[in-house]
Symmetry: C2
DNA sequence: CGACTAATTGATACGAATCAAAAGCGGTGG
DNA sequence: CCACCGCTTTTGATTCGTATCAATTAGTCG
């Protein structure tokens, strides 16, 4: 592991008691159910990292043998096409496990949106402990199933939905994440900017902006500021997000 | 497992020697590396099925505890939106493993395109044997990694590519599959119809048809019949498919 | 408070959808 | 063997949603 591209990352050995017991993402993470004495060695082998905003910490084609669990902050994973077009594949939040699809032929980048803190687990260690503790690999598989189904839902949005529906889908999804992580009920906090949203939803920033304005004038949402939104009519948004309203609003 | 919705399926216990040793998809399947004496019980627990063309054999929300491995034929998995829009998420071919994301909250259907033959493995059995033979669960994870990366690539196509690029992406992908399965080099055989292709690529049949015609007149492909295509310029198609040509052809 | 970047709003263009019709293809039966 | 029917695919004319280009406004930081 020479030539690690981790310049922007500070590394500290993880002290199980100090880090895990105060972990933000504890109840959201794959590792949570495995805090047993026999897996202590597994946790002690992990490392705690910090990544600065805007830093790409996983690079196209770089095969480093780690899983990362997000404890704090938000990430975007994306593919850049040769001419510069960018498709965001997913956003990562506390509890998101990174590195699952690392050894596939599909390569992409992951970048910190704001300041991100991560736990790093060596794949070898995961493998080693998984063979003794099959529940561990099962937890990973469950994470992966989640990623896969999220990706399918994303494909449905990108393939079949209008701009309105895509944005509603995004808001509802984001709202669910916010609820799980921060316990926020009808408020959505957006760590990403409009470019990120548009590159995630396969439309332009202008369209995102116009659609936000539409939603506000229809009473579906209210802006606190451009990155904080109150969902005024979660029901209707969810209906839109499910693709249950064919064309323009008939109300 | 009362009320199995498997009416259209004939079921036969799998005879390891008879079925596996003549299996079409052998070298392509997750089970291939595990034909050892100690896993004999695992294979003997499997069942061989046949599904008729057009039969939906996995239904939205039906949680039956099986994995299916395709031996022969082709499938489409898809999501139907409330108003009838259909997004095809993936096509299955010999070697495709079905049921990986079954217990997620994202529900979809899988349908036989032509006559399909499958091996059915109970999830319990897979779990049981996976705990003794970690390589088995590893094989499943590798399959899942593959599905996930395919889904990401699909999202890139749907989110950022033009109709031309999407179709090129589809042809190249299909060509790779055909090569792996049937050893065909520059020929692509399409078991699915134009509606399937359009619902996979998030465009209309008309656009698919027009783009095929364009490709033919540009010398990129030649039709043998509407479901058999020769790739005349795989290189240029691959370039298109990679999103490396920004707008309309500049040649 | 001014400078820079992000977000919104406006005018126009374009790619793909939609609506409509013709051509091709496979199966059936006289 | 060919005529006819239904379904799939292709081609054509027009519409529409979103992209693009351009400018203004809001927000952030030194």
């Amino acid at each position: 592991m020479a030539n690690l591209r981790h310049r922007a990352i500070e590394t500290n050995a993880l002290d199980h008691d100090a880090v895990c017991k105060t972990c933000w993402a504890k109840t959201l993470s794959f590792c949570e159910p495995h805090h047993t004495e026999s897996l202590r060695g597994f946790f002690d082998s992990a490392t705690c990292l910090k990544v600065n905003p805007g830093t790409v910490f996983i690079h196209d084609g770089a095969k480093f043998p780690y899983y990362f669990n997000i404890n704090r902050g938000a990430t975007r994973s994306f593919k850049i096409l040769p001419d510069g077009r960018r498709q965001i594949l997913s956003f990562g939040f506390p509890g998101t496990l990174i590195g699952l699809s690392q050894y596939s032929n599909f390569e992409f980048n992951i970048e910190a949106i704001n300041e991100v803190s991560l736990c790093r687990f060596s794949k070898d260690k995961v493998d080693y402990y998984s063979n003794k503790h099959p529940e561990l690999r099962k937890s990973l598989m469950e994470r992966m199933i989640y990623e896969l189904s999220e990706s399918y839902a994303h494909a449905v949005a990108l393939g079949k939905m209008s701009a309105r529906e895509r944005l509603a889908y995004f808001l509802i999804k984001q709202n669910k994440a916010d609820y799980k992580i921060y316990g926020q009920l009808n408020k959505v906090t957006l760590p990403m900017n409009r470019y990120d949203i548009s590159d995630y939803l396969g439309v332009t920033t202008e369209t995102i902006s116009r659609t936000f304005t539409q939603f506000e004038s229809e009473g579906l949402i209210t802006f606190i500021k451009s990155s904080e939104i109150i969902l005024r009519d979660r029901r209707r948004l969810a209906t839109l997000a499910a693709g249950a309203i064919a064309a323009s609003p008939a109300w």
